[in-house]
């Protein structure tokens, strides 16, 4: 039980995760910068700064606050999708189906709001359940039929997309493929703001969704680290066989986990569409990227709910920043490109940690005297 020395700072998991995340961000931005340089060297520096500045581009504080509000409005659903993926990842499940669960949630929320004219709380619940059901399908297929959750998740993403397109085609604007404005048809379905919009220069899209998403992140952190359920979920994720051996209901846990994951993603969609910030296009032929960007936020956040709050904000920050680029010079997808690079780099985090730990250990060993033959192994076994 040796005391931690000051150099133990680097060996703390949280420190390592933060370092790794920062490294990913820096490299991701560098690659993005190079891409901008290739497209048009003249404005590249300005462009990358624009992406990073996002709403700070606006000269007045009021305008900046308003657009900070917009970034937060979109960061909330992103955080929810990230939490969905993360919660499932703790149980060893890669919930790429979050994208489809998000779609299902959007469909259910908008259908309840526009077609059935329900109040926001019911719409929220509907989204939660719809996302949850999509999650449960993946869970059932995984538990009872051994279907890889990645493949089934992807299939459900597309099934969800086309189903929701059909479902919402009845409530679209006549002249456009977009669903009608929630605020104009059913004001009661808009999420309450509790006066928060005043903080953001009367940005009407700022609602309780933002603090709720953060609260849910904290709640998940508590569940994972302090409860029996969290203990089981993590054990199942780390060591499926040991979890089974100890009598945990592995199949049930997988299904519950995916239900929760699906519910989180579904809620995330409601958090966006029930603000009225976006409308659903019933002719869209690709699955919204929110669920996939969630993967970036999760891994960038070091697979920790609290870290994910910051990571989600960051991803949304640069994504929103991308939209301020001069469209006639640079494509705004450069932000997606940077996010994708960051996820790719997140794949190396484990490698980075192993290298770092190996280096730390080697340094420690050099500091100590040469080890006695097999000391570690033998001391333990003998009395």
């Amino acid at each position: 039980m040796g005391k931690k020395s000051s150099e133990g700072f680097l060996s703390k998991p949280a420190v390592q995760s933060t370092l790794a995340a920062l490294l990913c961000i820096v490299i991701g931005l560098l690659v993005g910068y190079v891409a901008l340089l290739i497209i048009n060297p003249a404005g590249a520096t300005e462009a990358i700064i624009t992406i990073l500045k996002n709403y700070f581009t606006y000269p007045t504080k009021a305008a900046a606050m308003k657009y900070l509000g917009n970034t937060l409005v979109k960061a909330a659903p992103l955080l929810m999708c990230a939490l969905s993926i993360q919660f499932c990842y703790q149980a060893g499940l890669f919930n790429i189906g979050a994208a489809g669960q998000y779609v299902a949630g959007a469909g259910a929320a908008l259908f309840c709001a526009l077609q059935l004219k329900m109040p926001w709380i019911i719409c929220l619940l509907a989204a939660l359940i719809a996302g949850g059901i999509f999650g449960i399908i993946v869970g059932l297929l995984k538990s009872y039929l051994n279907v890889n959750e990645v493949i089934s998740g992807i299939m459900l993403n597309w099934i969800g997309l086309y189903t929701v397109n059909m479902l919402l085609s009845g409530v679209k604007e006549t002249a456009s493929p977009y669903t009608v404005q929630v605020a104009s048809v059913n004001k009661g379905a808009i999420l309450p703001s509790l006066g928060m919009e005043k903080l953001f220069s009367n940005n009407k899209y700022v609602t309780i969704a933002i603090p709720l998403a953060i609260l849910i992140a904290i709640l998940l952190k508590v569940i994972l680290s302090m409860t029996v359920f969290g203990y089981e979920i993590k054990a199942t994720g780390i060591a499926k066989d040991a979890a089974k051996y100890s009598g945990m209901k592995e199949k049930r846990n997988v299904i519950i986990t995916l239900f929760i994951g699906g519910a989180l993603a579904g809620l995330g969609a409601a958090f966006l569409f029930l603000t009225g910030y976006e409308q659903w296009s019933v002719t869209q032929s690709s699955v919204p990227g929110m669920g996939f960007n969630g993967i970036a936020a999760t891994f960038l956040g070091g697979l920790d709910p609290i870290g994910t709050i910051f990571a989600s904000y960051f991803i949304q920050h640069i994504t929103s920043g991308g939209s301020y680029l001069d469209k006639n010079i640079y494509p705004s997808q450069i932000s997606d490109f940077i996010s994708a690079i960051i996820i790719y780099l997140c794949g190396f985090v484990l490698f980075f940690k192993i290298q770092l730990n190996g280096w730390l250990r080697a340094r420690d060993e050099r500091a100590k005297q040469p080890p006695i033959v097999q000391s570690k192994k033998e001391e333990g076994g003998n009395k």
């Binding site: 040796g2 029996v228 089974k244 051996y245 033998e378 333990g380």
Partner: protein
């Protein structure tokens, strides 16, 4: 001088380090041409590391390797192969879904315009098979053939490559006594034909039976080399462990009490093949006795325990624990009804390797009111103090106490943690599956004492073991399992390992009434 050396291979002053451990410390082994040279040592003594160095899987930091008196560098298995060194690994390196022939030629294929030419290979394999009495079916898939035939495939792999130096890494662990005899004959034949053989083992009797000379390793250090003709088992044993070992555990006679575990006509399907792994098995385990299931690896012992613990469903039969029918009970119900299980694979089943020691110590009890609140929160304080108690009581050693991650602990201490957890549940029935596998003598003694203490405290103990020595020394009753059936019941006081061997190999069987 080159080529005239008396030695086929010499490993001189080899030192190989791993982080925190010196696996081989200045080890020297010299293999004469045409001899069978045993390499003796306990688990973890550094035998496998040394052989991996010879085979090019690891590179030594210090020391040199000579072939026929000339220094050589072996950087990978290809180099070893080019020097005529072949190895039968302890865990066979065979591709399950390939045929025997494909496995033999893999890595040394003959092709014509890029297309595999198997006919000549087949002829060569069959010729070798005849010459050395290595019976195999070249077209059978590995997954369908016996362990013995798999091993013969491995040997043919070496012969196919015209290897002159053959390494056998613990080759008898998975064989029946009859197959072991056969292997010994094959090894002698090979030596007679001029092959030089390195035979790695920790089984003294086998070394005495087949080897010409023996080199001993202990804790990574080279202890010495002796001629088998000039030594005996006691001397070898002393060299191996550094002191006299009393492997026979002492225990007093005890009259067993009432039946704790009652198994009736249990049948468990197999994951590996379409037959049942356990066929219609019936037996009892009573209070205050250690019943041992003996048998060769892979005869249904694993599945028997899976069936008992609930990891696998029985297709028929009935299991009662302390009078309660648990045939269809869940794993958790069986555990809380008084069954403890020290699993065969401690890494896969026994521990959540990335959890702390404290979390692992409550793996069977975290849901109890002592460790969690009604609202579903873990009582971390209670868990930690319980862990500290067990660590103290069972002498579990680790670098950071209860907070140590299980993965970073030594094998012996991981096993101690599992034993502490399972015994401290105060179970009516303790099932221990190969609890001493891969551990050193000190840990083995410790575990045997714990098992006997359970028995003496009046609990029922069911031990599954592959080591006849262990079976003979600590059990009160022995049941032999062969191909999924119990084929004999014995009293360790009145039977001999040889007799058990006949039953384990399926040569004899008798009806046993449960």
């Amino acid at each position: 001088m080159a080529g005239n050396s008396e030695y086929a291979i010499e490993m001189l002053n080899i030192t190989k380090r791993f982080p925190g451990i010196i696996a081989n410390d200045n080890v020297t082994v010299q293999l004469k041409k045409g001899e069978i040279h045993a390499l003796l040592g306990e688990n973890g003594a550094g035998k496998s590391t040394l052989m991996s160095v010879l085979f090019g899987l690891y590179q030594a930091e210090e020391g040199i390797i000579k072939k026929d008196g000339v220094e050589v560098k072996i950087n990978n298995p290809n180099d070893a192969n080019d020097l005529g060194i072949g190895m039968v690994h302890q865990h066979f390196k065979l591709v399950q879904c390939f045929s025997v022939l494909d496995n033999i030629i893999l890595g040394d294929e003959t092709t014509k315009h890029g297309i595999l030419q198997k006919d000549e290979a087949r002829k060569k394999v069959m010729a070798l098979s005849d010459k050395y009495g290595l019976k195999v079916d070249p077209d059978a898939k590995i997954e369908d053939i016996t362990v013995g035939m798999q091993q013969r495939t491995e040997i043919l792999k070496m012969l196919y490559r015209d290897n002159e130096i053959l390494i056998f890494d613990e080759p008898t662990a998975v064989l029946t006594p009859a197959e072991i005899d056969e292997l010994m004959e094959i090894m002698k034949n090979l030596a007679k034909e001029g092959k030089s053989i390195l035979f790695i083992s920790h089984k003294l009797a086998e070394i005495m039976a087949v080897a010409d000379r023996c080199s001993v390793l202990r804790r990574g250090k080279y202890i010495g080399t002796v001629n088998i003709a000039d030594t005996n088992q006691d001397e070898l044993s002393r060299m191996m462990v550094g002191r006299d070992v009393q492997l026979v555990a002492t225990k007093e006679d005890k009259e067993p009490g009432k039946v704790i575990l009652h198994v009736e006509n249990m049948t468990v399907p197999s994951k590996l093949h379409h037959n049942n792994a356990v066929k219609n098995v019936s037996f009892d385990v009573r209070e205050g006795e250690i019943v041992c299931i003996a048998g060769i690896d892979g005869n249904g012992q694993t599945e028997l325990v899976y069936g008992l613990s609930g990891l696998e469903n029985c297709t028929s039969g009935k299991i009662t624990l302390s009078g309660k029918d648990i045939t269809h009970a869940s794993i958790r119900e069986r555990s809380t009804s008084g069954m403890s299980h020290i699993p065969e694979d401690r890494h896969k089943h026994g521990l959540v390797m990335d959890y702390s020691l404290a979390y692992n110590l409550v793996l069977q009890r975290y849901f109890e009111p002592e460790f969690s609140t009604k609202a579903g929160f873990l009582k971390k304080g209670a868990i930690n103090s319980y862990a500290d108690k067990l660590i103290e009581q069972y002498d579990i050693r680790s670098s950071q106490g209860a907070a140590t991650i299980a993965r970073s602990m030594s094998g012996g201490n991981q096993q101690k943690a599992i034993i502490a957890r399972e015994i401290d549940k105060n179970p009516d029935l303790l099932i221990a599956v190969q609890p001493t596998r891969g551990l050193d003598v000190g840990a083995i003694e410790y575990i045997h004492k714990q098992l006997i203490a359970q028995r003496d405290a009046g609990h029922a103990v069911l031990l599954v073991s592959l080591e006849l020595e262990e079976v003979m020394s600590i059990s009160d009753r022995i049941l032999v399992m062969y191909e999924g059936e119990l084929v004999g019941e014995f009293n360790p006081k009145t039977t001999t390992p040889e007799e058990l061997g006949l039953y384990m190999a399926g040569a004899k069987r008798k009806e046993i009434g449960a």
